[in-house]
Symmetry: C2
Subunit: 420 residues, 2 copies
């Protein structure tokens, strides 16, 4: 630490224009007519994006390694190169109608941090790495967050390699065909992990803040629900003799919303998909299927929401079956790293607020095996997974400067030292 407790290099700033230009250059690979990007995981476009990143990383003297699930690690040596690295990163695969910033921002912000340190001849105690995690989106191949999931042991490498896309191409073959099937090695220790990302939601914009200090990721429980009624003609069937499955579904949709509101501020409940049978204008629906997505910041809340849902379904006027299909545990981030993100934003003079990540990110898996934190910046109208996804250059620059400061703090002292 310097005098007055200011971290070393507190005056360092990244090059916002260079960051923006890199984002725009990467966005050309798989660019869509509507201004978005379609660069599905493990396609030739993904290879082109990876090659560009690798070329940029090598340009600034990084060593580049690829693991067996195709994760790329661009490493900048530390003064004490035996220390576990401070890692940042994200993904460069996109949704079929994705945008320029989701994932790509986290990778290129990491690269910009390394470029800035090079430009200023700054060395860090711990080594730094920028990771490109394979197949975060899961659009072509599931499970989602595949590369970080293997790294964190959420599922096995062999399980991931065996998955196939709709054409029957396996992850194993796709990795080989693009030249990114790397060494089969154990995941390496990570001293600290940071991930910068567009928020993909409307909270920062609604609160007019530049930096989201992410406390953790919501836990998720997903359900398939089926309501069994009796199909009948809308005309000849009086109200009192109906067994209308859609009516029970309507009550359930409203109830899912109420359950979320009952568990404010972070409880979330969504019915996103509905299928009505026979779905005919003058036939009373005999069967309705729908999905329920419940999220909460802690497991006790999520369980209370689960119980409320099941209770309502059990009390419905018609038979309702509830099948849970997905469970992601809530994942709090490391409090010292979260504090470091907040302090960096404050020191840089950016407005900030505590937020939660409602969606999954590679950082959520990394948090299982390393101290981790995330930095959110606003995106226009909260829109993501859409070709019109947009973000302001000054916000992206701000987030990257926070990332720089947080990585410097971690690499030079506190967290790494404590855990090493």
């Amino acid at each position: 630490m310097q005098a007055h407790d200011l971290p070393a290099h507190a005056g360092l700033r990244i090059d916002g224009a260079r960051l923006w230009n890199s984002l725009m250059q990467l966005a050309r690979i798989g660019a869509t007519e509507k201004g978005g990007v379609c660069r599905l995981a493990l396609t030739d476009l993904d290879r082109q994006g990876r090659d560009l990143f690798v070329a940029w990383a090598k340009e600034i003297g990084c060593t580049v390694r690829v693991d067996a699930i195709g994760n790329i690690f661009a490493r900048r040596a530390g003064v004490r190169d035996d220390l576990p690295p401070v890692v940042t990163g994200s993904h460069i695969d996109t949704q079929p109608t994705g945008g320029k910033f989701d994932g790509n921002y986290g990778v290129l912000a990491g690269l910009e941090v390394l470029r800035t340190l090079n430009d200023n001849d700054v060395r860090t105690q711990a080594p730094l790495e920028v990771a490109v995690w394979t197949n975060e989106e899961g659009s072509r191949l599931v499970p989602v967050m595949m590369g970080s999931g293997v790294f964190a042991g959420a599922f096995t490498l062999d399980h991931a390699l065996a998955q196939v896309d709709r054409e029957g191409v396996s992850v194993r073959d796709a990795l080989a065909s693009i030249g990114y099937a790397g060494e089969r090695v154990a995941a390496h220790d990570v001293g600290a992990y940071f991930e910068a990302h567009i928020e993909q939601g409307p909270v920062l914009e609604a609160n007019d803040k530049v930096i989201g200090v992410v406390q953790g990721a919501l836990g998720q429980r997903w359900y398939d629900v089926t309501i069994e009624g009796m199909e009948a003609h809308a005309g000849p069937t009086p109200m009192e003799l109906r067994r209308d499955a859609l009516l029970v579904a309507a009550d359930l949709i409203r109830t899912v919303n109420r359950i979320a509101l009952d568990h404010a501020p972070h409880g979330r409940g969504t019915v996103g998909w509905v299928s009505v049978h026979p779905n005919s204008r003058n036939v009373i629906p005999g069967r309705v299927k729908l999905t329920v997505d419940l999220r909460a910041a802690d497991d006790a809340t999520l369980l209370a929401m689960d119980r409320a849902l099941r209770e309502i379904c059990a009390q419905a006027e018609l038979p309702v079956t509830v099948d849970e299909v997905v469970y992601f545990a809530p994942q709090p981030f490391e409090s010292s790293l979260v504090a470091s993100v907040r302090e960096s934003a404050d020191a840089l003079g950016f407005t900030s607020m505590d937020v939660v990540s409602g969606a999954g990110h590679d950082a959520v898996y990394l948090a299982r095996v390393a101290p981790a934190a995330m930095i959110f910046v606003p995106c226009k109208d909260g829109i993501s997974h859409n070709e019109i996804e947009d973000a302001r250059a000054d916000h992206l620059e701000a987030g990257c400067n926070v990332l720089l400061q947080a990585m410097l703090r971690a690499a030079n002292a506190a967290v790494v030292g404590e855990r090493a």
Copy 2:
């Protein structure tokens, strides 16, 4: 009238076994593996069914005429053959997965009445006719109730003849190809019209009654409704910042039900069709389209229901557009004929109850140009438009005996005399 006010021929009974056998014989034409019938309007199967009916009608001495929309009239002369005929009938076209009784019962019950009169050498004052109305179902060609609609002037002959099916075949060409493009003549006067039909609903069965004395047909208003929200990720979007179109749809589905209950006993409200966009498990629905079907026994009630619907939609939290796409006026049946049906059921010792027709029938159009009434008999579990549609032989026999008595009363006295 005979002594003690008993109508002449009060002791006449139709032959239930013959009626059943005719139904089963006709059901072989277009029979499906699951026990139903697929005999779409103006197909070769329809021709085979028509040919069988015409052959049966000629066997018992009827004269047979076909009009320009293909309606068939099998006529049994009256003592006073100048009187407008007492007509009964229905249709023999079916839904793609239809049953043996919908429509067919009304036609063959009429034929059985004539056979019974022949067997017993009974002559009536007014002539009797059995009508086979073209294309009631509208599965292949719209508008539905085409033959009776043209007869009643609901739309023009030329409009109906110009309609085409999905393969581009016109009604005009289809009629010619099956040999049922008849004379272009003005619709003839009808002294009284009766139609026997399975109920296609659950009311008679639920009330354990054999005969439904149909008071009239409900009016119908059909709507297309669109709710515009904002598509957003289920995870990163807090409850208070959502514009969830499905939530408004859920409230509307419940409201449509309440509007119907508020207008008991005959108010009906159904949402049968729902389309959610983008219909993805973890995306808040940005747009929901749904249909609303409102029915009531009188126009004042139907209009009140329409206003309630529009008011609720105008007050919704999100923009809701309401487009009315269909209006059928409520159609009361002729009170003297309705009374005659009830009295005939009573005289025959059958349990009966007043009911309304929630669905459209040829009789509803006929009621625009002639005194009309309907006779319902129960169908199993209220199921129709389904290959498992079923009805009991004794119920079908009972309905046919009521039809016989009601036609005799009309042809020999009261109504015809009054209106002739």
